[in-house]
Symmetry: D2
Subunit: 309 residues, 4 copies
């Protein structure tokens, strides 16, 4: 059973649309708050059918936490698996994504995984680049390669707004600086980090990134290797164990495919060896995941029996 | 590429054997301490080839934490998915399996998942049965059905020894009793729990249980439904997100198949729709997982490309 | 400036009476719930004036946590200062009195002080006695000596009620048993502990106990030594640093004299070398201290300039 | 019994000197590391005898955490008791002075008391002044008034060194900035804070500050009011409940007088209505208190029966 027409996606979007009413658009950054709470879109990319989509696929949004899986891949390519995981763990955590307490109670101090903010900051610190622009340039290059869309850039309004209000991330950085987990200047790192979060994409872009990961790191059209296979697998594993904040366990049960969400309302998902999926809908549930987006993925996964388990 | 001869397993056992030297047999229960640290065994069950095995497959050992996935399946069958997950969460945790701190800091109090001790105790509490014998009888029946081996029983020496030294689990129970998470008498529950941990099996039994789960809950020979498919999936998901204590994330990256370990040195693993796997080797790593067992599974998964990601 | 007539106390009681409306009688034990929320009483014992009192001084109530300072004195007499403080710390804590989390995070596990439940349980465990009755007998003997009132006994209705609902204290005990902090059988210890909490006294009894402590451990009439001076000082120090649950710091600022409260609404206070004070009023503030009782003590301390600082 | 000659102090210094060998000079700031570990000094100020001293009283050192009690007094004078304590609590804590975990677990976020770093930073934030120089100028003025020594100034080498390595305090500040507990620019605040820690004094200065507090805020020579009496009392209370980091409870038992220590090895102590005491010896115990300094105070308090309990 396979989704082969956009009609099927249209039906799924319609069925999940009412759930947008149950969520709340992120309001901690003014630029995010402006998102239209009625939007819902899905794009599915497979080798056989290319990209199918439905809903408000023209909408663009910022990557936010979705960027964490891309920077993780890049940091492993840049600094090596061993070095990266000497500074950040591999274990899921029941704590919120922005928590600092475990950094203090763990001896030696080490973020539990690269999907929580502390871990993602350590990861971006390890990406090559003397300046934030160099780091961000390399991140954008990877995104251009994965999406085959070189027009993707940064939403500077969002980036500036996040940089100003990034006090919690600043606290995490200085705490980790004290513990030798951060090499670069903290303000430079935060600039790079807020920019990576502010890369602006649409659902089709997410679907194609998902397809590259599903295709074990190779471009689905040219089969050119963009990310080494073992790194693509590491990334997909983190998507399953901790991609949906501290609702990852529930998502793994209900939807059962790798996924990574962002507070902008985007979700990047995929089915190994089959397809990449991009979903977008701004209203969030209390844990920070797109509420209609999850519902849409759940219905999609269930209808086409996509569970990896 | 598929493992079809025992010779291949013999080679894998030989290759992983040296790692037994790096671990330490569990010593907190006298009966566990007596295990022979040199033992290493694997059994692989598939529909096509039946059960292949290598190493010390005659060795028996107690289920310990492996029992948690079986009682979870049974509790959901008995009390319903909603009721079970009203008392225990679905999220992985970075805390040790016997930790009590999160029970206090979470409001309302609720164990994070059914693979940590607190969660497993709640689960056993929900299995039907007025007495510990009734509960344990039902657990044994399920195990007999899954293994097709009705000779499996309880090692009472281990059970008694664990019951006497179960002060930490007692503390967890009384804490949860206070918070309304435990219905039964605590001592009765602990008796049932220590008995479920003391069910004695061998690697072939584990492999066949794994095969039932891999076969979506159906007997691999008769295709009779033993566990509903959605429950088998829930179980497999927990095996991936939190089956290997707080090394689950690392295992998911390195081995990339569902697995559940016990401090006796056993590991029950599987590949969805393909095979069940049982591994045994008593020496443990610092996180409580069989050190050579993990190595064996890692080599096996890598050699036959079993990753689900 | 000194309080020498009961008229002055009557005025103070009248002034503090309205605050009884702002609190809530403890309801977690049925026997406590029955207390009359309108009651307010104070008794002041000094060598010169004997015992002055005002308000509902005929009311009796159970010691509850006030017993912790008496068992601490007794345990040091029985087991020695060094042994007692090898099992319980001397430091105040910002955590609630019944918290278990710090027992887990402290390495080695050790209750922070003898005024939180965990610490008080360790202390009672160290009091001589093979049975709970022997332990409680020795506690009662000390209370008889300090109050010069041999009619004081246990309210068994309260004791039984507390024993049944003591799941949190049971959890603390079993956790500490696991860590070698408790020698005796846990149920025996809990029986002794709930009985010590259920010793029934009135305000005059509290005032005389306070006077013995203020008099450095000697009987105010006969000057017979009941408690060694250094132990009386230790007790008074804990009253200042952690006698009022996690409102001890605020009380030290506002009232500035040693005090220990119980959830029955009693407060035992004193001014070193001058007087003992007993206060009673059942309605509690959110931290578990008698709300009008604290107000009464604050006014009393302020009017007669009793601050030790 | 009263200390009236310097000979008595000389003997006490001699007796406590050997304990300097058991401690370790603070090494986290280069400038502190240079302190001579053999130094030990005491100064005692009373109205009757003026200032008696013994040992290395010519040695100067920086206030470090001792400054926290002075800024607390100033902040209450500047912003009012209610406003100050709306942002910082009054309760002692068992956590280390630089801990951040409780800021996260407390809802709403609020440092437990003004003697831990988080609380002290909030306090300095509330001192009047648009710039760090204005804040520090006001702090110095208070110190000049209390010591009657207008030559006291800042050790800029220490201040600069601390500012550079203040990542943990930076983390605390940004965390609290996020929670609305800090009004000023964080870097400005840190500049003021590191300067207040770097005010350079000697033991006689500490003794006279202690005398002002012991004299309820009035100059011991002119009886001019420097600090309101109720504020002097608040300060003395915090010295008892949390003046010696998380060894405050033990110090209250063993020494039993108000005291505040700093990692430079200084301790400011006092006996209410009687005397101020300054002690200095750089080697610290594991909790950050001057090891020989505590011993000296313990012997002094015991010999002259100074206990306030």
């Amino acid at each position: 059973m396979k989704c082969t027409t956009e009609q099927e996606l249209v039906k799924l979007v319609k069925r999940s649309k009412p759930f947008t009413k149950d969520g709340k658009v992120a309001d901690y950054i003014p630029a995010l708050e402006k998102a239209d709470p009625d939007k819902l879109a899905i794009a599915v990319y497979s080798k056989e059918d290319g990209c199918l989509s439905a809903g408000d696929v023209g909408e663009t949004f910022t990557l936010q936490s979705i960027s964490k899986i891309l920077t993780l891949a890049l940091a492993i390519m840049d600094a090596g698996e061993d070095h990266v995981f000497s500074r950040v763990g591999k274990e899921p955590t029941g704590d919120p994504f922005n928590s600092i307490a475990k950094l203090e109670s763990q001896v030696p101090s080490k973020p539990l995984n690269p999907m929580i903010n502390a871990g993602a900051l350590v990861v971006t610190d390890l990406i090559h680049g003397e300046t934030s622009d160099e780091k961000v340039g390399r991140i954008l290059q990877l995104i251009h390669d994965m999406t085959n869309n070189s027009s993707i850039g940064i939403n500077y309004e969002v980036a500036d707004s996040e940089f100003e209000s990034a006090h919690l991330n600043r606290a995490l950085c200085y705490f980790m600086k004290q513990h030798g987990l951060i090499d670069n200047d903290v303000e430079m790192l935060l600039e790079a980090y807020t920019k990576q979060c502010s890369v602006e994409v649409n659902c089709k872009d997410l679907a194609r990134i998902g397809m590259v990961l599903a295709n074990e790191g190779r471009d689905p059209e040219t089969e050119r290797k963009i990310i080494p296979r073992y790194i693509a697998r590491i990334v997909k594993t983190f998507m399953v164990t901790c991609g949906m904040y501290n609702a990852s366990g529930e998502f793994a049960i209900n939807v059962a495919i790798p996924a990574k969400s962002g507070v902008s309302g985007g979700i990047l998902s995929l089915v190994p060896n089959q397809m990449g999926i991009g979903v977008y809908s701004p209203p969030l549930d209390p844990k920070g995941n797109s509420i209609a987006g999850i519902k849409l993925l759940e219905n999609f996964s269930s209808q086409y029996e996509l569970s990896i388990f």
